[in-house]
């Protein structure tokens, strides 16, 4: 882990040099989008917007896994929790997300078995120790989390744990980037590409996207110096050209990524058209469990009826996820919608843009 070196990348002197370089180079207003929710959090936590020149406008993109999960998917998760003899296991972030009628947290308080786990393998253990129950793991997230969840399905097959299932709502990043470029709501001058996802995908995964749109793109890490360096490179590309697909997180992201992890993912999942909250249907942007693993597919094994899914009235999460609006431009922000009583997922998730604005920015 690079944690030992965390201090170096938070070094004030290094950051100051990068900020000075950005200030020297930047002359015209630009909109840079950080695609990853962890970037959004890091930018706020370290006060990075404060230290950048006014010409640079950072937009938060659709990179918070909980936030982009479509309302019918959330409603299905809640419906699983109500099925007799089922244990729903989930990453913590999802538990407070309001569905059309309820939330997992409400189901838990009402006595249904909803458990927070830290990995799909914890859910697999729960399935082993509760053979008389069906254990559903809620699979959300991008290419960062998908390989581990695929591995848990492989393990369930190998160890013959028939009561372990995954409700698969995974999304993929490159397809979403394309949708953002095709949107006419906002003109993005450059992308900070997600570091964690790129560890799996490698820099090469963005090549087809880059070749098509020629928009400055830099893979970025998560420490302040990582983000500032990526911004510096983006500004330099924009000001001096030509646009490039660059990697400013080479200590973790290689050209090829992690082929083993991708192979596991490809064994278990196949691409499917998916709905991103706020963007709508993006062809090939989701993952579904291949028919060969249908025994572990909750969607196949546990049919549930969900209400006609409705997104919360007045919630601007959709526009916020594409950078078309900022949270203060949503009429619910801070009044009806707070972390205590969140109306949309961007206020719930610790990586949501609204939660970040609420917590760090006043």
């Amino acid at each position: 882990m690079p944690l030992k070196h965390q201090g170096e990348y938070r070094d004030p002197q290094l950051s100051r040099r990068l900020i000075e370089a950005i200030n020297r180079t930047s002359t015209r207003p630009v909109k840079l989008m950080e695609v990853c929710g962890t970037h959004t959090m890091s930018i706020f936590r370290h006060g990075i917007r404060d230290v950048l020149p006014e010409t640079i406008h950072l937009l938060s993109g659709p990179g918070c896994p909980v936030c982009v999960t479509a309302q019918p998917e959330i409603d299905a998760f809640i419906a699983y929790a109500r099925v007799e003899g089922t244990i729903v296991t989930t990453f913590g972030d999802l538990i407070r997300v309001p569905g059309t009628e309820s939330s997992l947290q409400k189901e838990k308080a009402a006595g249904n078995d909803v458990r927070i786990v830290y990995s799909a393998f914890d859910a697999l253990k729960i399935a082993q120790t509760n053979p008389d129950k069906r254990v559903v793991f809620l699979g959300v997230g991008f290419e960062t989390t998908a390989p581990t969840i695929a591995a848990s399905i492989l393990a369930a097959r190998e160890m013959a744990v028939p009561n372990f299932m995954v409700a698969c709502a995974h999304k993929t990043v490159p397809a979403a980037l394309e949708a953002l470029m095709n949107s006419d709501q906002v003109r993005i001058s450059g992308f900070l590409l997600p570091g964690h996802v790129s560890v799996i995908l490698g820099r090469q995964a963005y090549q087809p996207f880059f070749d098509k749109y020629k928009v400055p793109s830099v893979v970025a890490g998560f420490e302040p110096a990582d983000i500032l360096e990526a911004v510096r490179r983006l500004v330099e590309q924009i000001e001096k050209g030509p646009p490039r697909l660059d990697n400013a997180y080479a200590r973790a992201v290689s050209e090829e990524g992690n082929p083993k992890a991708r192979a596991v993912m490809d064994t278990v999942f196949e691409p499917v058209d998916a709905v991103f909250r706020g963007i709508g249907m993006i062809p090939g942007s989701g993952l579904q469990i291949r028919p060969a693993f249908a025994a572990h597919d909750a969607a196949v094994q546990i049919p549930v009826s969900v209400p006609v899914s409705k997104e919360p009235a007045g919630c601007a999460c959709g526009a916020i996820l594409t950078g078309a609006k900022t949270p203060p431009e949503c009429r619910l922000f801070r009044s009806a919608c707070t972390p205590e009583n969140p109306i949309g997922p961007c206020m719930v998730s610790s990586e949501g843009t609204c939660a970040a604005y609420f917590r760090f920015h006043q």
């Binding site: 944690l3 100051r16 929710g37 006060g47 230290v51 990453f91």
Partner: protein, 337 residues
Amino acid sequence: MTSEFISLDHGSGGKIAHRLTAELFLPLFDNPILSDLHDGAVLKLNDSTRVAFSTDTFTVTPLFFPGGDIGELAVNGTINDVAMCGATPLFISLALIIEEGFPMADLTRILQSIQRAATQAGVQVVTGDTKVVPKGAADGLFINTSGIGLIPENVAIGSTGARPGDKIILSGTMADHGMTILTQREGLAFDSAIQSDSAPLNQMVAKILAASNKVHVLRDPTRGGVGTTLNEIAESSRAGIVLQESRLPVGDAVAGVCELLGFDPLYVANEGKLLAFVPAEDAAAVLEAIRSDAFGREACIIGDVTDEHPGQVVLETRIGGRRIVDMLTGEQLPRIC
């Protein structure tokens, strides 16, 4: 109340827990002593005698964890709350709710730990109660302790006393207890060398009060962490707080685990740390007094009280940015990626 059921967030020590107190408890029991909302109640028995009184209930999974156990925690937690009123803790009560089938050996071990902790802190267990409930009606063992202590003359410490110009001292690293419990809990396997900071702080408080008679606020940042406690102090004192990120002490292993799980150490529980607000002229003496205590070796000044942005806590980041440190809302939840 907006919610129909109690959720774990109501017990998190953050905003949602505060709302429960303000909307449900205070209207029913309102009185000037309770409405102070300090760690303990300050009771004036007669012109010369003031007593600090506090109660706390302990539920922790697992019952035994690196750096302590529920017994030690139950003693230290209550005497620390009494000590934060500037009092010398003297007596505690001990009440147990035990689940049917609980191993006698574990109970013995926990009671021995309570005895050791009480002896170390110089308090006596003077009354108690034991209830046993059917299997499934409690999770192993719950403990309640209450404590009382005497407040010396001329000591006036409350939660509303922070003044612009005060220095804020934290007695050591943040987040050790909370992250230890989290990593020990079922389903999480980190091989990290972190342990709870559970410790009695009454002797440290005595040293602080000997070093300065101008201490404005003492608080132990337990549930909700340093961030939430500082927000409470800023709000009740109507003062602003500015923290320096570079001075916030976090152990390397704890920082690593927090980073992995997406937890902010500012909001993670401590069980053996205190925050002291003292005028600048006494800050060095108080800092030295804290550092002279076995549990305060890594104490440092983490920020200042200002007359700007009253009620708000602002953090100056290492790279020179500024951001709000808000009060925790509910429980911190681990992130997805």
